[in-house]
């Protein structure tokens, strides 16, 4: 989808791709942690960088029917989550334009140890 320069984030709590350490978002962009994806728990974010989007796909999720696009890491092309294009239920509309990252596939680069999900507790 064109050449994009990789963005580097400064600030507290930069979350990055587990494989290639490409920055994705800052901790302050996390809006909610009560989501789940294919690999387990996931977080909802308002801003994200260094990802590419895939083709729009109509999916039925626990909260209803949505149109989503999978997102991939810009460097290693690995699947890391998805973004909501459209939500069919009115109460789910707030998710449109926001992003989901699967916690298994990312890590907080300020912390060395990344395996334990208890890292998420601040």
């Amino acid at each position: 989808m064109g050449y994009m320069h990789q963005t580097f984030l400064d600030g507290k709590g930069v979350f990055a791709c587990r494989d290639c350490h490409t920055h994705f978002t800052l901790r302050k962009s996390i809006e909610s942690r009560q989501y789940s994806g294919q690999y387990g728990r996931a977080v909802l974010l308002s801003d994200i960088v260094n990802v590419r989007v895939g083709e729009p796909d109509k999916r039925s999720m626990t909260t209803g029917m949505h149109i989503v696009q999978d997102i991939y890491c810009m460097r290693c092309n690995k699947y890391v989550g998805w973004t909501y294009v459209r939500a069919f239920e009115p109460e789910q509309k707030f998710k449109e334009g926001k992003f989901i990252l699967e916690r298994e596939l990312i890590y907080d680069i300020s912390r060395e140890c990344i395996r334990d999900s208890s890292d998420w507790i601040e």
């Binding site: 989808m1 064109g2 050449y3 994009m4 320069h5 990789q6 963005t7 580097f8």
Partner: protein, 617 residues
């Protein structure tokens, strides 16, 4: 001197042929007030010529000229807005410089003007002969305006005398000149110190190199004369090559006014230069297919014979510009290739990748010659440093590295994260576009920071003109800015294209960088005239975003690469490229040589199809 010929009306050659025209009397031309010339003729003579003139055509009138020594009967065939004295003296200068001495003398006699009056001639001759006392005396007679200028001129003359005395090893006299004359003529102490230092030079060769002076028998006296020109009023001593300078200015003006300037101005002096619309790149000649993924960089070799492309499929391909076939495919990078730079001798390319390495490839052999590791993040840009053994690279790891082609790091500088680099052709200027919104300029010889240009939003791409005077920047908000680097101000804005978060590279194009081109997210190539900012064309040939566009004078073509995995070539029909069939005026013949679709996917070349269209303005 006013042109009193105006009273006689406009005299043209056509009028001269018109037998009934009363303007043929010619008394208008002779009534000019000339310095110390013969008085206007009495009416008797002109009356007699009236009847004769009325019966004559212009040809016979002109036949009266050659043999006539009497200026009073010269008939000027047309009026001119320029003073006759100036025009004639420029002609005299040209004749003199080109060695037509007979004509030179004849013209002086016939017109009554001289190129230089006696004092100036003497002054010139004495400078060239090195007769310094005569020179000093005659300085006051040649029309120097102010005492300051007089001192400055005298200083130049005395400096030359000083150097010549040193050369002749007459050190004592040189010292006298320095102490008694040079020191009183200037306040520049450093200059005086330098000159006194020259007294210490052991030999004449040392003197010459230390003073950057080529000796009394060399060109130095001419050089002194030329520098003295600035202090002497141009009326007394006509500036050297004045007519040639004026011609050059006229040509430059024509080139500036040329809308589609892609051809050099070689039509001579008889007709104005103007590139016709037909030579502007407007037809898609070839669409090069061969990459498996988005093509992110494309560059012509300096000799115009090859095109190199780098892609998201991790390979580089070298295409031949004579038959548009794939010459080499370079595999080796572990990740996407985003930048390629050709060596000045067109033999090597350096490719930069997000696998954090640069690789040097030999275009003749098709082999990888060297891997350069040293960046810790994506390498975003690389440029050669004028020679075939050094290049510079910038990355997102806050590093700019100067490499030697054998793999060693020559110099490493910490910098902002580099998004793009540009190097001037004389390698004195380095421009760095950083990850934020600024462009920083460094002196490349000393690696010192010079100045910054600030943009309102992120700079996605940058290009520098060949004369290092202008720089264009493509911004994230879809604007294309042009900066004048001499004044460091924003001078022009180009618009019409769309650009967002993806890098779409811009370039200078055309003859002498007179055009500006950039791709767009809608798959169109936009080309503007650099001076007027007018959009010249929108070229469609790609189906997806155009990432890069580039121009080559030698190949006389624009090349664009796109996310649709293809590269398009848009030639300018200059008649020169050998692969073009000779029918430059028949645009449809390009279909002839491209029905070679190969079964394999090595290279598929297709000519202009109905999928292409262009909007010309």
């Amino acid at each position: 001197m006013t042109n009193s010929r105006g009273s006689a009306g406009q005299l043209t050659a056509a009028d001269a042929r018109n037998e009934g025209s009363p303007d043929l009397n010619g008394n208008g031309s002779t009534a000019d007030a000339r310095d110390s010339q013969s008085p206007p003729p009495d009416t008797g003579a002109t009356n007699g010529r009236d009847t004769a003139a009325l019966a004559d055509t212009s040809d016979t009138l002109l036949k009266r000229y050659p043999g006539q020594e009497q200026e009073t009967q010269r008939i000027c065939l047309r009026d001119s807005q320029f003073e006759e004295e100036q025009v004639v003296r420029l002609l005299l200068q040209e004749l003199h410089d080109r060695g037509f001495t007979d004509t030179f003398n004849q013209l002086q006699r016939e017109s009554g003007f001289t190129l230089e009056n006696e004092p100036v001639s003497q002054f010139r001759n004495s400078v060239l002969a090195g007769e310094w006392s005569k020179v000093k005396d005659s300085l006051s007679t040649i029309g120097i305006q102010t005492p300051d200028n007089l001192n400055a001129a005298l200083f130049l003359i005395k400096r030359q005398q000083f150097l010549e005395l040193l050369e002749a090893r007459q050190l004592k006299q040189a010292l006298l000149v320095l102490q008694n004359e040079l020191s009183t003529l200037t306040n520049d102490i450093q200059q005086l110190h330098r000159l006194s230092g020259l007294l210490m030079c052991p030999s004449v060769e040392d003197l010459r190199t230390a003073a950057d002076w080529d000796g009394s028998s060399g060109r130095s006296r001419f050089v002194v004369l030329e520098s003295l020109q600035t202090y002497i009023s141009p009326g007394s001593m006509v500036p050297v090559h004045r007519m040639e300078t004026l011609f050059g200015q006229a040509l430059a003006y024509q080139c500036d006014a040329c809308k589609y300037h892609v051809r050099p101005a070689n039509q001579g002096l008889y007709i104005d230069h103007m590139c016709p619309t037909s030579v502007f790149p407007q037809e898609l000649q070839f669409s090069l297919k061969g990459h498996q993924d988005e093509v992110w960089y494309v560059a012509f070799s300096p000799d115009g014979r090859y095109l190199a492309s780098g892609s998201r499929d991790k390979t580089c391909i070298i295409w031949s510009m004579s038959d548009f076939s794939i010459v080499h495919r370079f595999n080796g990078h572990q990740n996407e290739v985003a930048y390629i730079a050709w060596s000045p001798n067109s033999k090597y390319i350096v490719s930069a990748s997000s696998d954090r390495t640069l690789r040097l490839w030999d275009v003749e052999d098709g082999t990888q010659m060297q891997v350069f590791s040293g960046h810790e993040e994506t390498v975003t840009s690389c440029k050669w440093l004028g020679t075939n053994d050094r290049f510079i690279s910038g990355g997102l790891d806050h590093r700019i590295i100067i490499w030697d082609i054998n793999g060693t790091i020559v110099k490493q500088i910490s910098s902002p994260r580099v998004h793009d680099l540009a190097v001037s052709s004389d390698c004195s200027l380095l421009l760095v576009a950083d990850e934020k919104t600024d462009i920083h300029a460094y002196d490349l010889t000393t690696l010192t920071f010079m100045y910054s240009l600030n943009e309102p939003v992120e700079v996605m791409s940058m290009a520098l003109s060949a004369d290092a005077r202008y720089c264009i920047t493509g911004l994230r908000n879809g604007e294309l800015h042009m900066w004048d680097l001499d004044t460091r101000t924003l001078v022009r804005d180009f618009s019409g294209h769309t650009q967002g978060q993806y890098v779409i590279r811009c370039t200078f194009a055309g003859q002498d960088d007179r055009l500006v081109a950039t791709g767009s997210e809608d798959g169109l190539l936009f080309v503007w005239n650099r001076n007027t900012g007018q959009l010249l064309a929108r070229l469609r040939g790609h189906t997806k975003t155009i990432n890069v566009c580039t121009w080559s004078d030698k190949a006389a073509a624009l090349a664009t690469s796109s996310d649709d995995k293809t590269i398009c070539i848009w030639p300018a029909y200059r008649g020169a490229p050998s692969h073009r069939p000779d029918s430059t005026d028949d645009l449809s013949t390009s279909d002839d040589d491209d029905d070679e679709s190969h079964a394999d996917d090595k290279s598929m070349v297709s000519g202009a199809h109905s999928t292409t269209s262009i909007d010309m303005f």
